[in-house]
Every structure is written in C-alpha cells, then in structure tokens.
Amino acid sequence: MSGITSALQHHHKLCDEDFAGAEEAAHKGDWTACAAIYDKFRNEMLAHFSVEEDVLFPAFEERSGMVDGPTQVMRSEHVQMRALLQQMDEALLQKNADDFGGTAGTLLIMMQQHNMKEENILYPMCDQALGQDGDLQSRIAAGLNV
C-alpha cells in the first residue's frame, strides 16, 4: 500500500543519509567534501519543505478543513529548521567545525522529531483524507526531484 505520502517518507531517509555524510566530513575537517554533500542535503531539505508547504499541506487543508491544525505546526518547524540551515551555511563558510557540529546536532533532533510526527500522525491523516490522487502524487514526485 503506497499512499500519497510514501515518496515523502522515503525522502526523509535520503535527507538523513546526506546529513550524516556532511556531518562526518565536517568532523574530519574535510571541508571540500562537506561543502559538496551539505549542498545536496540543503537542497533536498528545502525542496522537501516546499513540496509540503505548496502541494501537500494545501491539498490536505482544503480536503479536511483543518487549517490551523498540525500543518501549521509543521510549517513553523520548517521555519526553525530553515534558520538552523542558515546557521550551518554560515559555519561552513567560516569552516567553524564547532558551530557546524553543534548546529548539526540540534538540527538532527529537530528534524527527527519532526519526521516522527509527520510519519506517525500527519502523513497517515493525509493519506486517509486524500486517497489515491495521481496528479497530486506526480506533483510531489516532481517537487522532490531537484
């Protein structure tokens, strides 16, 4: 059973993978490798947020009528994660391993608890509310392929 959100769920794992790569490279002081993986990671994260905010959440809100509910909380957590990414950009630019590592550690928990809420609660609600919608599914897939 692949619901509408299964591509987003897989995408979480991809982001995790690249997060780990960037963090490890920074820890080793290999800033060239770090910049390359981090750039990929950052683009994936931002694309993921956009797909949710521009495609999935509006569809869910329209269908369920829940405008001020969980999607709003997810949006505000996206704001917090975007701010953390900005701090990581800064740390990468300055090659500051301590700031990069500390912010990465903070982002990791933020990201994981966010994914957990989405995967356990919000995505199942979306799958239930939206059913099988081919158009929506392909717009999600297109948004994630950057």
Binding site: D16, E17, F19, A20, E23, E24, H27, M66, G69, P70, V73, R75, S76, H78, V79, Q80, A83, L84, Q87, D98, D99, G101, G102, T103, G105, T106, L108, I109, Q112, Q113, M116, K117, N120, I121, L122
Partner: protein, 446 residues
Amino acid sequence: MQPGLSFEQAPPISVPFRFFLTAPLFGMAAGLLLLWQGPAAFASRWTPVALALTHLLAVGFMLQAMCGALLQMLPVAAGANIWQPRRVTHLTHAGLTIGTLLLVAGFLSGTALLFRIAVPFMTISLGAFALIVLIALFRTPAQGPTISSLRIAVFGLIVTIALGATLASAFGWQLALPLIEITHVHAAWGLGGWSMLLVASVAYLVVPMFQLTPPYPAWLARSFSLTLFCLLAAWSLTWLPLQRPAGLQVALGCAAALLTMVFAVVTLRLQGQRRRKVTEPTLLFWRLAMAVLVVATFAVVLQQLNPGVEDYAGVPFLLGVLLMVGVFMPVISGMLYKIMPFLNWMHLQKIGKPGLVVPNMRQMISEPRMMMQFRLHLAALILLLAAVPLPWLVYPGGVALIASCVWLEWNLVVATRNYARFSSELAARLAAEQAPSPQPPSQGRG
C-alpha cells in the same frame, strides 16, 4: 480522534528541570553513605544500609529523573497531555524528594513512624502520577511500539508502588507479612517491569533518532514489553506461599533475563549499524549501559541456576551495581545530555523571532565536560564491581560515584544557567532591534 494534535503542549522548562537537578543529589548521597559505611554496606542485601542505598539510587536518582523526563516527553513525543501539569509536577517532585528522604531515614534509624508517614505520602503522590500518566497514554491518538510499551511500563510502576507500600506498611505497623518474598518481587518489578520497560520504550524512539540507526526489528518492538511483563507476572506468582514450584521459578527468571539480554544485544547491533559516524557522549553512555546489561542479565541467569549463590552477600551487591550504576544511571545521564540542551534550545526559540540566532545545543553543555563525567562514572562502576572481591575498593568507588554525580549536577547547573543567560541576552537583543524603529513587528509566525 481529536482533531487538534497536541504538538505544542510542551510544559514550562521548570517542570522537567527541577527533577533533573534533584536526581544527582541523591546519587551523591548514595556515595557518601558508601564512604560512611565502608564494606559493611554490602555485608548483606537485608541490612538497613543496603536498603537505604538501593532506594537512594532507585527512587532518589532513577525514578526522579525518569518522572521528569516522562512529564516532558509525553505531550511532545507521544501527544499525551497530562492533566493539571503544574499540580502533578509539584506533587510528584515532593513525593519523590521527601519520600526518598523519609524512606532512607526510616531504614537507617529503624523508626516505624517514618514509614507510617512515607506510606500514605508516597502512595498518593506517586500513585497519582502513575495513574495520570497512564490515562494520558490511553487517551493519546498516537500509536506505535513506544506508546504501547510505555503503557505496560507504567503498569509495572504501579505494581512496584503497591508492593513497596505493602513492605513499608509492614515496617510501619509491624505487620506479619512474608517480607523476603515480597521484597524479591518488588525489586524485580522496579528494575525489570518498570525501569527496563521504560528504557526499552524510549530506546525504540531515540536509538534510531540520535544515531540514525535502522529501526528496531518489528517483532522485538512489538513483543518485548508484553512478553517481559507476562514472564515477570508468572514469576511473581511462583512466590505465592503455596507449594513453591522451584524449577518453574528458575525457568521463568532465566527466560526474563535472556529476553532482556536479547534486547541489549539488538540495541548494540543497531548502534553498530548507525549511519551517523560522529561519536557523542550520549552514544557512549548508551553503549556502556547496553554492554553492562548483557553482563548483568548473564549474571542473573547464573544466579538463578546456582541457588546457593544467594547466600554469598556479594551477589546482590554485584547485581545492584551492574543494573543501577552500570545500566540505568548511564542511560539517564546520556539522555539528560540530550534532553536539557534541546529543551534549552527549543524554549529559547520561543523567546526569539525568526532571524534571531539562538545558541546551538553544544553551547549549552560542552562535550568535553560530558566526557569527563562519562570517565568518572566508568571509574565508579569498575571500582564498585571490584569491591566485591576487594572490599576496601568501596572507598575509592564511593568517591568516584560522588565525583560522577557532582560532575553531572554541575553540567546540569551550567545548562540551566546558560538558559537563563541566553534568554536574557535574546530578550535584550530583541528589545534593541525593536527600539530604533517603532513600527509594528512584522508577522513573523510561520
């Protein structure tokens, strides 16, 4: 299902922090008691000193930190809202803090009156905590192995409290009860049916989350808690004063220990497969705890298979040190080093506004300071285990335990002070930014 998901119901930061800052104090007290009593502390598990030591660690340190973490975690991670969070916090914190003092003073002085006060006081405060948490856990719309395991763990806590209250009543009112049998069952529920199940429930969530490991195998996450609970329940029944089926008791005891060993081995394997390669203090604390859990469960099996070994007083001390100092205290320390910095960061976020940079988690407690406590704790564990054959080592062991707890407390105090410092800095920066241009603040909410 409730339409409004309770994502944002995090309690005020002072709710969990008061528990976290109190717990290490009781660890220090346990170390001091060890120094005061020396090798006499483990002459037998039935001495008042041994009972006082056990409760300083099990209630004063472990349960204290566990309750604080649960009050924080339930609304945020489990969507389970606590009824009257402030009152429940005051009552539970008082129950744990004053309750531990009453119990320890009661054991050490042998004063029945102290137990008569402790029984209603602790039963009401801790019993209310357990019931309120249980209700919240049954009302949450969230699902998954963590939620179902937490429910079972809280049942285990209720059994532990009920048996503890029975024992304390026997001391307080000189009731003729089979104290030794009830004590065995009380201890098994406290360590296995509550603490172990709580650690497992939390592990399903945080082991993959902190280190990006694969998830726990579904068969384990689904069945571990319920199976351990049933094994413990069956084992407890064999202690009823009927004809005691000795063989069955040993078999059930071994099965429970081996099942727990499986959990520890699986956790170690998952951590070995982690995608995140950066090693942090929290990971080291967890790995130490799981490695010691393998040893401890092996020791339980050996003890079950060799009935005479009970008479050797070193065995209960060895098991107690392995489980409390070697498993639960490290897990708790490792968790506190994630929970407190993250809570600091999360609450500071609420003060600021988007664009205002909040210090990251590593700026709340520095990693070298956490590592130092890890080393001190490891030293305490090794020395206390070595004190079984070489009793004089209890002195350096006690000193190391005190040092580990002082270091832990200091790290937590630093985190608390950093929270206060950063929040006033943020507020000042926010005020400075708004002062020059008296325009209305933009809609910054996401």
